[in-house]
Symmetry: C2
């Protein structure tokens, strides 16, 4: 009997968790790789700090505002499709009624039941449109506070994630020392982050931890090689 509350918990948590995951995984990876890459090309921690902060500012704004606009666009898209469905239930009622019937025929109901259910759903215009939105188009009504919350969560997660790999360069160590500390600290942070993320999503924490460290390491290595070559 644990099923229903479990499912609901899963869906309530998932949007915020997803935003934290989106922001933090890029925040840990990209500034880390950029700083590591530049360590192969320049001798000044100063330049790496400037580049890292510029990246964190740009990345958090691009991802946070990007998330905000994406959520706003999704809400507008929902309204647009709602209006179109509403118009079509008036202008093309036969086509729309047939579309409802098709959904149920797909589940192998006999024709008499299909007609009864369809007639009942189509007897109320709001219910009819809601049905089409969800079952034909697969659209759920977006939460109006989602865009703002999503933007703030993603941007903050990116900033927090990005400060971890950059922090050793702030101390004033030589670039190679800072790089070494940054690599150790960040790979460890990616391991923990991947583990926790794996717990929240598919319940395979170690696999997720391994993948997260692999992506971060690969990105940093590629950045290091490219920057060393062109720097």
């Amino acid at each position: 009997m644990h099923h229903i509350p479990h499912t609901e918990n899963h869906f309530t948590a998932s949007e915020t968790v997803r935003d934290i995951v989106i922001g933090m995984s890029d925040g840990l990876t990209v500034p880390f790789a950029l700083a590591a890459g530049l360590s192969g090309a320049v001798d000044s921690s100063h330049v790496i700090v400037a580049a890292g902060l510029a990246e964190v500012a740009a990345g958090s704004i691009a991802m946070g505002l990007g998330g905000y606009l994406a959520a706003k666009t999704e809400a507008e898209h929902y309204d647009l499709e709602w209006k179109r469905e509403a118009r079509e239930t008036i202008e093309l009622p036969d086509v729309e009624t047939e579309e409802v019937a098709q959904v149920f025929r797909g589940y192998g109901l006999d024709e008499k039941t299909v007609q009864t259910v369809t007639a009942s759903i189509c007897s109320d215009q709001t219910r009819w449109i809601e049905f089409m939105m969800k079952f034909e188009l697969g659209l759920e009504k977006p939460d109006p506070t989602r865009a703002r919350n999503s933007a703030i969560t993603i941007a903050l997660s990116y900033i927090i994630g990005g400060m971890i790999p950059l922090s050793p360069y702030f101390v004033g160590w030589e670039v190679r020392t800072a790089l070494l500390v940054s690599v150790c600290v960040t790979l460890f942070a990616l391991l923990i982050f991947g583990y926790v993320k794996g717990r929240f999503t598919v319940d395979r924490p170690w696999k997720s931890a391994g993948q997260t460290v692999f992506v971060g390491g690969l990105a940093a290595s590629a950045a290091f090689l490219l920057a060393s070559f062109f720097g």
Copy 2:
């Protein structure tokens, strides 16, 4: 009668379009902002090229592989939920039958019709699980080729986007000249990109174009100020 084909077009195109939008909007914005930011802190186009390429390598790997793993996780999540629903139709058939009935009661069907439809859906286990997956959990069966295609599309879009703002720094101009050309070229590219994106999503191309240019400009300005201050 244009409705059905229109909707189908919309859904076929949307996943690839979404991946291109994800990759290109960050690819145009973040390397642009980073290069602009560093132009306020360092005098060498060389360092900016190295940092920019490191960023593009890191960003495309982080976003591409990130997209790949996200799609894989989604597929695993689907399988996991499918198995759970399958187990529950055997272990808790009454609870699961009631959950199907609840969906139809929500649409205001009379009790006799609810029972007929529910009995019909639950008479076939596969149909029953499919119904629960889609209508209770809102999950669609993921396309098995999606993860790989998504990764490649996002990474390539990021690289193509990122090369636009960096190209002026390759030419060998002074940093300030390269910055000026990069700003003009990239804001123009963001305008076109935002316009096309707006056409594909909410059919408000100019609003979308304005937003995209605004986000890119804001990210670049913030990066420039931060890097000038710390550089």
